[in-house]
């Protein structure tokens, strides 16, 4: 905000509308918890006091898809759970992003069998993959920061083309 310094104490800031919108989206992105398995413990500990995710805007985790922006798929998704996951993803209002947390959500992890999806991107489109089994809370926070950078780089043109 270099303009602010030049204008002194007038309290005026100029920015672009896109910058404004993206900044507001990143500063209060509420995740929808989809903690299925062991990665959910790390997600909980990332939200708790020692590795606080509220510093980054995720003040609370909404259990309802209608009130959330970000879906963190933490854990392995079985074939029976796939339609449920897709339905919840469809119920989230736009704009929405998805983090695939952990190895099982990214690529199937250690499970290569008849019952587990090899990567949750067979069910929902994923923006950021966080590796680890389970990823440390700092790794999850790094994944969240990567989503923020992606959001800050979005433009209205992309949205217009998506919904043409």
């Amino acid at each position: 905000m270099g303009v602010e310094q030049k204008l002194g104490n007038m309290g005026v800031v100029t920015t672009t509308l896109e910058g404004m919108v993206n900044w507001s989206r990143t500063n209060a992105m509420w995740p929808m918890l989809f903690g299925l398995a062991c990665c959910a413990i790390e997600m909980m500990s990332a939200q708790a006091s020692d590795y606080d995710m509220s510093r980054f805007g995720m003040e609370l985790m909404r259990a309802s898809p209608r009130q959330s922006d970000l879906m963190i798929v933490a854990g392995r998704v079985s074939k029976k759970m796939g339609p449920v996951l897709r339905r919840l993803y469809d119920q989230m209002p736009e704009p929405k992003w998805v983090i695939a947390m952990g190895d099982c959500a990214s690529c199937g992890g250690v499970f290569n069998n008849y019952a587990i999806y090899q990567g949750v991107d067979e069910v929902v489109p994923v923006d950021v993959y966080v590796a680890g089994c389970p990823p440390r809370p700092e790794a999850l926070i790094h994944g969240v920061m990567t989503v923020y950078e992606k959001v800050k780089g979005e433009s209205f043109k992309q949205y217009a083309e998506k919904y043409k």
């Binding site: 074939k79 029976k80 339609p83 897709r86 690529c107 199937g108 290569n112 069998n113 008849y114 019952a115 587990i116 090899q118 990567g119 991107d121 067979e122 069910v123 929902v124 489109p125 998506k162």
Partner: protein
């Protein structure tokens, strides 16, 4: 064999002309599918084997007759004994009468048999798949079901796997 188990095994052997095998203090009795319900009633009522610990099956493919062995493991809590009943079943259309009349826990165990092995259970009150989704074809725990789902990705075959993978649309 445990001393207390000997008369019980002898009684079952005489009544159903069954053979048995022993392995490290475990007794396996071999019965025919028609004799199961009677044997279960006998063991439950007279000899107090009140707990059906396990109801599973094993697959001995590529040997086709008998391909499956359906296993009933009965435990008596007061006497601290357990006995196992094995029922050899053929591979082409395996059928077993239901044990839900004897033990209520057999309901879900037989649904698991149906789902994982394809062994039909006659007279079952709720024959649905229990572990896999309803429209899944195939029976996963048979020996001729493929073991893995996707081949491991290395750098040399990553692009081929990437083309075949069913990515989700928006």
């Amino acid at each position: 064999m445990d001393k207390k188990l000997e008369p019980i095994v002898k009684a079952v052997q005489d009544k159903f002309s069954a053979t048995y095998e022993e392995f490290r203090d475990e007794v396996h009795l071999f019965l025919k599918p028609e004799q199961i319900i009677e044997a279960l009633f006998l063991l439950r009522d007279e000899y107090n084997f009140e707990l059906l610990s396990a109801l599973t099956a094993t697959d001995y493919w590529p040997q086709t007759t008998p391909r499956f062995h359906v296993i009933y493991q009965l435990t008596s809590l007061e006497k601290n004994l357990s006995v196992q009943i094995r029922v050899p079943v053929n591979g082409d259309s395996p059928k077993v009468p239901t044990a839900t009349g004897v033990y209520g826990v057999a309901n879900w165990r037989e649904r698991e048999l149906l789902d994982m092995f394809g062994i039909e259970v006659e007279g079952h009150p709720d024959p649905r798949r229990i572990l896999m989704p309803e429209d899944h074809e195939g029976h996963p725990l048979r020996k001729d079901y493929p073991l893995g789902y996707e081949e491991p990705q290395f750098t040399f075959n990553f692009d081929e796997i990437d083309l075949r993978k069913p990515y989700a649309k928006e």
